[in-house]
């Protein structure tokens, strides 16, 4: 086509500058999050003393709900709620929030690596103009993985039913035959080994990929590309196994009695589409700053298609998991959705409905047309909806199992997500400054610059 700007790779290097003003703004956001968090924790600690009537009322309602549920399911569902109530401590909600956000942001960080690996594995050209953005995300693993390890090590029994004292000891009042049967896999040491080994492999492979990618900028040559393809392929293989394993470990094992063979897919789908939304927002932010002029509406169109398609993919997986459980109607499986729909005085019902609207209906309608996928404002709206929706999705996965009737949306939730989000933005911005925003010696860069759909 006529009218292409002649773009020589040598003159495209450009750097994002993380100005002190930008740093200040993020630090203010972080402080605001911490303040909200502290006030939230203070209110929680106060609320527990005066909130007994509410709790008791809720308890009765939950009891009624349980009776109705038991009638409906003709018994058989093993509820572990009464036992959880015995050692409920108001700090549990704080730990649950740390866990929720650490899992959520770990996902965004690691899927950045997954995206880049996938582009190398498929030898995609179009994405080489923007691959530096997702390539920076895994830096946050250095913060989120240690948080996961520490919370698991010190406060794991708050989050995981299978870590409660005595559940696997025969003769203990807490003994649980089902959990004891799973203890070969769900035990503290093996969990930590999986977390450290796979998390370490993620960080190791990201470092290798990042190093080669930066060396390619300096020296050029296709040998870097072939090496990067190999690293990407190795990562995809490892991530294929580890994403499922971590979905079982970090989230599914919270509801220890319950299991779903689709859960690995489901959680990965949620992580995946969130990361596309974060990539789009980052690129649009950089474009608003006057950078990345070579990322045009064709590249944005492709990213918009990814957001659109994987929103539908998430819906498919989520609904498929629900449909099979709904149809088979086995009490030990339906308890999961019953808790989220009718349980705890319908505490989680509104966010369950909101989640499907935010994650499926709105992105589906907003991003449906070609023009919307090529227009920045629609992409921004859809990206925000998807990120908010999938945060709620993770909330729905984690909170009902950990907190039950003690859950809720309050200052703790908003404070914690602000703290994590601002830390994420700070770390990623820092990492983005360390390399040129365009991989100028990427062999497919000319193809990407002429991308036209």
């Amino acid at each position: 086509m006529a009218g292409h700007s002649h773009f020589s790779p040598a003159n495209v290097e450009e750097h994002f500058e993380f100005t002190s003003e930008g740093k200040k703004r993020i630090i203010y956001a972080f402080i605001a999050g911490v303040v909200a968090l502290v006030i939230g924790i203070y209110l929680l600690s106060k609320g527990e003393a005066g909130g007994h009537e509410v709790a008791a009322a809720g308890h009765e309602a939950a009891k009624a709900g349980h009776e109705a549920a038991a009638e409906h399911l003709s018994g058989g569902a093993v509820s572990h709620q009464p036992e959880a109530e015995e050692h409920y401590n108001w700090m549990n909600r704080v730990w649950a929030n740390v866990w929720l956000n650490a899992v959520f942001f770990t996902g965004i960080a690691v899927v950045g690596m997954f995206f880049v690996s996938l582009q190398y594995l498929t030898k995609s050209g179009w994405s080489s103009v923007m691959k530096r953005v997702p390539e920076a995300f895994p830096k946050f693993l250095y913060i989120s993985l240690p948080i996961l390890i520490l919370v698991f090590f010190f406060k794991g029994d708050v989050i995981f039913h299978w870590m409660h004292h005595g559940v696997t000891e025969v003769g203990s009042p807490n003994y649980d035959k089902i959990i004891a049967g799973k203890s070969g896999y769900l035990n503290k040491n093996f969990f930590l080994i999986r977390l450290v080994v796979f998390g370490g492999l993620w960080i190791l492979l990201w470092n290798m990929l990042r190093k080669k990618s930066l060396e390619e900028d300096l020296n050029g040559g296709t040998e870097y590309f072939t090496q990067l393809v190999k690293i990407g392929t190795a990562f995809i293989v490892i991530f294929g196994a580890s994403s499922s394993i971590f979905a079982w470990d970090w989230v599914m094992s919270i509801d220890t009695h319950w299991f779903s063979t689709m859960f690995g897919w489901y959680m990965f789908a949620s992580w995946h589409v969130t990361t596309y939304a974060v990539i789009v927002l980052t690129i649009l932010y950089l474009k608003d700053k006057g950078l990345m002029g070579y990322v045009n509406e064709n590249h944005l169109h492709d990213l918009g298609k990814f957001m659109f398609a994987f929103s539908i993919f998430w819906t498919y997986v989520w609904f498929e998991q629900f449909l099979l459980i709904y149809y088979a109607n086995l009490p030990e499986e339906t308890i999961y959705f019953l808790e989220r729909w009718e349980g705890y005085d319908k505490l989680y019902k509104s966010s369950e409905i909101l989640m499907v609207i935010l994650n499926f209906l709105l992105p589906f309608l907003v991003l449906m047309t070609r023009d919307a996928k090529r227009t920045r404002i629609f992409l921004k709206i859809a990206a925000f909806l998807i990120i908010a929706g999938h945060y709620i999705d993770f909330y729905q996965m984690i909170m009902p199992g950990v907190l039950g009737k003690h859950g809720g949306y309050g200052l703790v939730e908003f404070g914690m997500v602000t703290v994590f989000a601002s830390a994420f933005i700070y770390v990623i911005s820092g990492e983005l400054t360390k390399a040129s925003l365009v991989a100028k010696n990427h062999p497919f860069l000319p193809e990407a610059l002429h991308h036209d759909i």
């Binding site: 086509m1 006529a2 609904f319 629900f322 449909l323 709904y326 149809y327 109607n329 449906m368 047309t369 070609r370 036209d452």
Partner: protein
Amino acid sequence: MSSTTNYILGVYDDEDEVLHAVGEVKAKGIKIEDVFTPFPIHGLDVAVGHERTRLPIAAFMFGTLGMICALSLISYTMVFDWPMIIGGKDFFALPNWIPVTFEGTVLFTAFGLVTTFCISNDLWPGNPTLPLDIRTTDDKFVMAINVDKNKVSAADIKKALKDSGAIEVNVK
């Protein structure tokens, strides 16, 4: 395309040439009716200045129609006409119906789109329209210009086509 229309056809034998020729001919103020090629050429429809297809809108409407039809049929048969309990669920068991509704949506969209596409391109069975130049089904690229819709004279159009690299210029 009736026989009273006057067409001037520029025949090219290279896809890059025809793509550049479109720009050159248009630069002389000549309106191009269409370009016929044996295979799709990237960027040609933009260069000729065709409007984007409105098939996606039709797709959305067919899909919506399919969804409504599927849901109506299932709810009529399973809820109103002959209520049936399946798997202990309510009569109106919406989750059970989603897969079938999805299939109905896809089916209506696919058939509706193929039909719309064929009708809007005069491709129904028995349609007597013949290609303006049979070689566009083989290895030649033909730019068709409707003389009646152009203010430029036929001689100038022929000259413009020749200048842009056409190997032949025919009148039809």
